[in-house]
């Protein structure tokens, strides 16, 4: 379907709807609005609109629907799959001014927020009240709207689950401008198809989310981390299912390999507390009291040592823990500083991670391209990076795509999925299609058609067929 390009008269109408101060045009549209953190290519929208209310979003979509103008919703632009870039032009709808924490309901342990609230702001706000928002994606400057739209996961998913598990209600604007509310301030709901869960992870292709009701927990009082060196990466990762089989659920289990660790040390300009081993598991435990935690981490240490760990280092002060987790948190930036990257965000059963990482090591040799990985060993979500280093762009892309095809195919045979937490955007859409097959893609297409018959919402994402 051909989309309309914005004319001067269109722009005047838009000014009438939202006011000139809520629009960016021409040179005001900086590079930031033309890409996300994937940053493969720039796509310049014809206008950026920054609405200040649900009503403005509604008016904007009603207008866009009438005129066949595509609308791509964007939070902080921290995505890694191009989900929030305007690949066919049209309007970028920025949620930057829909950024209020509307309510923290301490009686029900719930909060209501606008989509442009930053994850880090919200986490701090509720923690200051003794409450806790468990989802903890690595990118703290992401917006909650973006987190909901990609069903972002993060490190604490082992114990606490992902964003989806905390979204109990949404206000959203449909493509034609109609405002709907799904779910509510309810923690149980069996009232028809879950439109709420359909909008979570839909990457802005079904509706524009304008309000989010989130479930909260009491803030855990105590926290302890373990850094466990292993003689090999395989030995480290193979320990993870043993921990789970010992009926221990840590808050997070990450695996680190020396090569990535060294990159992070260089990037941060400081040393990691231990660098004697080729690989580590980094675990954290949250709880309400020390006694509870002691029992669990002692049991974990025992399992790790039985599985061949060289040592178990305990970090129980906030400072020591922060050093460990800050280093882990810098991995992506550290790799980016070294080389251009192609990223894979597969998720497989935790027991299959060792096999999967081994497979990437074989691919590395076979295709002669550097492949590094780190990730959420406890929940099976791996981040695998294929580095350009000194390859030509074309050659690197060729090898990277071979590697990616092979990895997604292997993930599928392990009953895994294309994306654990980053979403599909435009970058992963061919892989999604291969993974799910045409029947499921058709079902999704039918859903899209139901919500957005003119295809104006974030075209070119999840599928590519609407891209010109």
């Amino acid at each position: 379907m051909p989309y309309s390009k914005l004319t001067e008269s269109h722009l005047n109408e838009l000014r009438g709807l939202v006011g000139e101060h809520c629009m960016l045009l021409g040179p005001q549209i900086t590079e930031d609005y033309q890409r996300d953190e994937l940053a493969e290519e720039l796509f310049c929208p014809e206008a950026v609109v920054i609405p200040e209310s649900t009503e403005q979003v509604s008016q904007l979509l009603q207008w866009a629907s009438t005129h066949g103008v595509p609308v791509t919703t964007r939070g902080s632009g921290t995505g890694l799959c191009g989900g929030s870039v305007a690949v066919v032009g049209g309007i970028v709808l920025s949620t930057a001014r829909l950024n209020k924490i509307l309510e923290v309901d301490e009686q029900n342990l719930m909060a209501v927020v606008q989509p442009g609230v930053l994850l880090m702001e919200f986490q701090k706000h509720v923690e200051d009240l003794g409450l806790f928002y468990p989802p903890d994606p690595g990118e703290k400057t992401a917006t909650l709207g973006g987190n909901v739209s990609t069903n972002a996961g993060g490190m604490r998913a082992v114990k606490y689950g992902v964003t989806r598990d905390y979204v109990i209600g949404l206000e959203a604007v449909l493509a034609d401008g109609t405002i709907i509310e799904t779910g509510g301030k309810v923690v149980k709901n069996s009232s028809g198809y879950s439109l709420n869960h359909l909008l979570v992870g839909a990457e802005g292709t079904l509706a524009v989310i304008t309000k989010i009701t989130l479930k909260l927990l009491p803030k855990p009082e105590k926290q302890i981390s373990l850094l466990v060196p292993f003689p090999s990466l395989t030995a480290a990762i193979e320990t993870v299912p043993k921990i789970l089989a010992a009926k221990i659920i840590p808050t997070a289990i990450e695996f680190l390999q020396r090569e990535v660790l060294e990159a992070a040390e260089k990037y941060l300009g400081r040393r990691f507390p231990d660098s004697s081993a080729p690989a580590y598991l980094l675990l954290t435990f949250y709880g309400q009291n020390v006694v509870e935690l002691e029992g669990v981490y002692e049991k974990t240490a025992h399992v790790c040592l039985e599985a061949g760990a060289v040592d178990v280092l305990i970090a129980n002060s906030p400072d020591r823990q922060e050093t460990l987790w800050q280093t882990r948190g810098a991995f992506l930036e550290a790799l980016k500083a070294m080389s251009a990257l192609e990223e894979v965000d597969v998720v497989v059963p935790p027991s299959a991670i060792a096999e999967f990482v081994q497979f990437t090591k074989e691919l590395e040799k076979e295709l002669d391209v550097r492949i590094l990985s780190f990730g959420h060993a406890g929940d099976g979500n791996l981040h695998v990076y294929i580095l350009q280093d000194d390859l030509t762009k074309d050659e690197w892309r060729r090898r990277a795509h071979q590697a990616m095809d092979a990895m997604y195919a292997r993930a599928r045979t392990l009953r895994g999925q294309v994306s654990g937490e980053h979403g599909i955007g435009y970058a992963k859409s061919p892989y999604l299609q291969n993974s799910l097959g045409s029947i499921q893609m058709q079902l999704m297409r039918g859903i899209k058609q139901t919500f957005d018959p003119k295809g104006i919402l974030n075209p070119g994402k999840i599928w590519r067929e609407n891209v010109n």
Copy 2:
């Protein structure tokens, strides 16, 4: 759309597909297959088919699709909204022989089951392995397929969530016989629209679920219950948000009123440990050790006494706890033994329960019909019963429908929903429509159309328009 009636030649084709031993016809179709526990009316299917494999389900649906024959999937028939009865005739597909626990994966804390496995069988099976399936709907003879299709909740939802939160993968057969797999053995997933979450709670109207992958937890080692008498029902219920606001998350918080308690004592033929008070909160706490639990229940006792509780009785032996919870578990049967009932299963924010129960008391007076309630105070899910007692059927129905209209309207203004855990079936469909409004019903209709264009799967549920 008119559906085809089964002819003798149809039945012969069905025999060829699944074998005569997998079919019930004519007088073999006992009353059990003509109703669920709502039991308002009998609907006799033309045939009951009891397939033994996913392939048979696939062949059956392909056949039914070709011939325009409706198929209603049924587990144990323990539903309370008529969700599994064949309101337009056709075939009842019983999952009774798809009843295998296929795998308990201790390394990943996951299990794979067929839909006909009973909840109580599965709970026991995993507990014997030191594992734990948290959802705990009251009806233990329900099937897991039924639990998934209604997104059943239960008492432990306060702490552990509902069935949906544990369903990570499904195998399902579409209306045309195509077999799909959604999700997988993955605890994180951001790979396109969540068809998995769409099938959960869809009451068999979108596909027939043939395999379920469930997340498990380690079995909690310790358990303690508190029975807390209050001077009034309002005082009891108003304490619940205070417990949550004190940052305590019990595993379950139920409220009991004397009139219901007395009915249960009579029904069970034994006395409840305490019957001095007009109302009680019954709480339970699960944990890994006694120290952890002691801290929490002492804090809870303090909050309850501050809020006006008469006493706090601790039950820490398995026997004493069983007595308490068995009595609670008998409430529905006890009320049924007293009178015919109309049931409401609304869910509201926990802080609004006191107001809602007060409202039912006013309705009781205003409409001169006995209204009793009990339920999950901690998660806001109430079960309200309108009793026939000695009213004529017509008069009772009239008053009950007035009461229900008023209650659903009030739930809506409190940001609640029509059903917390029982689903919609045919009995609640008009209320769902009122609650969600035509836009959301149209979206759901579009989804239904995408999955089941001929409308053969469980017609007359969620909507009524397909009923002849």
